[in-house]
Subunit: 533 residues, 2 copies
């Protein structure tokens, strides 16, 4: 490990990024997820390899969310990947949205299957026939299930790692209650968990609200969501959704029960999901021109310790100090590692771990050794500070907490600067041209939303409602524009559509399939909106 | 909750099992996994719903195994579900085994894909092209990855819940090393974890050993396994496998590296997996005519508390005592619940929780309340014992430990009684006719194993080698039968083949697909052997 022997130090090129976030966001994103070792592009278009650096983030969020829903007495299960066409097609609105993206298995080995079988794009129709079977009396309610699984949506437009892929990982919760009140309560409990994932773990501010009638899940009663925003693109992005399905699916799938008085009731249902998309949003919001920037709470390495040996210095002493530092931090539950590799220079290592977004770097050189200190460098701000070894643990803990908080605050400040209140149509158009997220009075009528969409359609797409925020500002007086905002009962966020037409063409190896089909019906748009979560 | 009010008590029929384990094992198994609420049959043949009662067992094992492999610095990742045919077919032996069972996606929506895409039956060929990309120098080694995922094998013969299903959950580890020695060591470390899952968690004795040349994973260097035994059927069952792949895949996929001296080396690889099959083996080994019997370590409810109110008794006091008991136990980390349902009699509840296999039942009635005690009833032995509330926690802990141990001991005793040492061909045939697991001298030559198979073929199938146990008895002198056991260097377990032709036809709803194809080549048999793990 140690020794004064001269080592060959590789000067690998290409460690940095060739694109800048501000200048070419799409290319920057493609590059940073690969160079940060989160993603490897795969030889089938729209499919991506989640490398351990990404998977560990998913797992940290999963541990949190899974424990929380278990407290709510929601139980994990596993339903099959496959669904027969007859069941898939039972709810007409539902299948209409999904149909163009469903992947079909038609062969096994060299034999044709008698009937093609679909791969689940989501599991409502997979599960609800069995809800019908299991629920008979009011004592069988509530039924609260969740599964962690993969789903497949064979989309053809602009696949993007994490954000829009043909296969992705998610959790999907499916619950049934005797009363609407219980369903309503759970919708918001789950939405709060989604807010916590974004704000407490990923350090991304989100807005909780209710989707418009046009944007809600087709077939459901109402949809709530957490909405994030990518300042660089001026586009909102749906973070996760928690739906109250009402009794529509219960009707289709005959999910009935006998209530306490012996009368026949129909179940109230919810479904809710978040996916690996969360990771993509995190990369987009926090990443910079040096690479990923990971919030400490989700980074599998929170502190990277780099020895900085000098000619003639006490190399062994430096390595020992690094090991002692890692021990101290790990002993207190901080995820710390040292990079002892001898064929890379300290400078190369700095760049490497900056690319991977590790929140805090600790450097230990001869001077530090002599002064019984270490040098700590923050990834988010590049701020450097010398820490005495005596207060190492306390200081590192404080810094990690502060990084987490600062990243959230910075993201919130940027996001807030992009919100524009518009009270007139002119203000609305002006804000839209500046790629703002617009807070405007809103009637929540479908024809009006369609009309807004038509009137705003341009190169970038068209305005689309994100949600009516639960946290409402006071209603403005005057300046009403009744043709577009027919009622003043709610505020809503409007912004550019075609979030999905986003981003990256490059780096995308063309796979053996998937070209040629275009489709974008209104229903498909709603589906996209809902189902990527 | 309480109150002396007369309640309607349902006498649901059909709570028991219609088949006995000894009399009709296949039907008994189908019934017990459904009535025990582990499995729901699905409308696609060979696919099953894993209900929370089964999923919780899978999760408990997963928490253990995942933590252990993380200690070994193995990292989780996620590779795509889909694999292109060109990559799948790269290793010829490999694809030859899998080809008949691969499910192919040929359509998305209404469009035909340009090239059909396979669903992974396992991920060697999915992963190794990227191993080749990521591994360049010796410092990139070892590369140690694992994923928890679903795989699909469209088998046509006798699907059986957990044991043989078209989709199943598993972990698959894939590792690469610079030296054979490191690979050899890991193979055994992983095998030891599999032994612990079976013996420490599922209370099932297994035999560790090495597969014969004929039964090893085609394309690999050698295969190790843990082998379990189902006394009722007289069939062995492969519990999990840990393979050393040698350098064969590295050659196919060009997984090369530059070693410390600047020379070109080729990686040594392992792959290893265990699946939800583990749960099926557990049901088969421990279940009885009253239902499931779950080992305490994997049961999501370890103790079920049942109030036994009597007319005029202090019902509220009994309910309070139940709640206090649950609190005490849960406070100490024991998974305890109370069944307060008012429309079921205590007797019905006893049967219900016996069917679900909960290891320990605690009953609290008026007499118990008066005496400051509870009555504890073991699921495994039906033994009843009164416990003073003062020593509740200590006694319950002891009983759970003892149940875990007793279940293992009982299973081991039964298993051991089925092992027969055979030194001559006559002894061998006699033992086989008694459905024993045979320990016999063994040469490990492929032609000999084929010949044994031919000569023993009958109604039940044919003899098949399970493994050469690592724990070898002393070699016997004399009675050699050189025509079958040409070398005396190893002992091996031989027993009936067609483990896969096992079991259940009933309860299997005929789905929309999957009938008609029969195939059983020698290679397919090897594949089955390996790949169901």
């Amino acid at each position: 490990m140690a020794g004064g022997k001269k080592k060959e130090v590789k000067k690998e090129t290409g460690l940095g990024l060739s694109f800048k976030k501000e200048e070419n966001f799409g290319e920057w994103y493609s590059e940073v997820v690969v160079n940060g070792e989160m993603i490897e592009y795969y030889d089938i278009s729209g499919c991506y390899i989640l490398r351990p650096w990404a998977m560990s983030i998913w797992e940290i969020m999963q541990v949190f969310f899974d424990a929380e829903i278990k407290k709510m007495k929601i139980k994990n299960c596993y339903f099959p990947l496959f669904v027969s066409s007859s069941v898939l097609e039972k709810e007409k609105d539902h299948i209409e949205g999904f149909a163009p993206e469903v992947a079909w298995v038609t062969k096994s080995g060299k034999s044709d299957l008698e009937i093609p079988i679909a791969i689940r794009p989501t599991s409502e129709t997979v599960m609800y026939p069995y809800f019908s079977k299991w629920i008979r009396g009011h004592r069988d309610l509530p039924l609260k299930l969740n599964q962690w699984c993969n789903v497949v949506r064979w989309e053809f437009s602009n696949p993007t790692p994490f954000i829009r892929s043909r296969e992705f990982l998610w959790q999907e919760g499916h619950t049934a209650f005797a009363t609407k009140q219980e369903a309503d309560e759970e919708v918001l409990q789950i939405l709060e968990l989604y807010r916590r994932i974004y704000e407490e773990f990923l350090a991304i501010p989100v807005i909780k609200g209710k989707k418009s009638e046009m944007e809600k899940f087709a077939g459901g009663l109402y949809t709530t969501s957490v909405e994030a925003f990518i300042p660089n693109t001026g586009r909102g992005i749906q973070g996760a959704t928690s739906h109250c399905l009402g009794q529509n699916f219960a009707k289709m799938f005959e999910i009935n029960f006998e209530n306490e008085k012996g009368e026949r009731g129909m179940a109230w249902q919810n479904s809710w999901a978040y996916s690996t998309r969360t990771i993509g949003v995190m990369v987009m919001v926090h990443g910079d021109d040096k690479g990923l920037v990971l919030p400490p709470k989700v980074s599998s390495v929170q502190v990277i310790v780099v020895p900085v040996p000098f000619k003639d210095a006490n190399t062994q002493g430096i390595f020992d100090a690094c090991a002692a530092t890692v021990d101290t931090l790990c002993g207190a539950g901080i995820r710390a590692e040292a990079d002892y590799r001898e064929n890379y220079s300290p400078g190369w290592k700095y760049s490497h771990w900056e690319m991977k977004g590790v929140p805090l770097r600790i450097e230990i050189g001869p001077k530090d050794l002599a002064n019984n200190q270490v040098r700590a460098v923050r990834r988010d701000s590049a701020a450097k500070v010398d820490i005495s070894c005596d207060s190492l643990l306390e200081k590192v803990k404080d810094m990690l907490d502060d990084i987490q908080k600062s990243m959230f605050d910075a993201a919130k400040q940027k996001r807030d600067a992009c919100i524009q209140v518009a009270k007139t149509w002119d203000e609305f158009k002006e804000a839209l041209s500046q790629r703002k997220m617009i807070l405007a009075p809103w009637c929540d009528e479908e024809e009006v939303e369609k009309d807004v969409k038509d009137r705003t359609r341009g190169e970038m797409g068209a305005a689309k409602s994100l949600c009516s925020p639960f946290d409402q500002p006071e209603l403005p007086e005057g300046n009403r524009t009744p043709s577009y905002f027919m009622s003043w009962s709610l505020f809503s966020l409007l912004l550019l559509l075609v979030l999905h037409a986003l981003l990256l063409e490059s780096q995308q190896k063309s796979g053996p399939t998937g070209e040629g089909v275009t489709r974008l019906s209104a229903l498909a748009a709603i589906f996209l909106n809902f189902h990527i979560v």
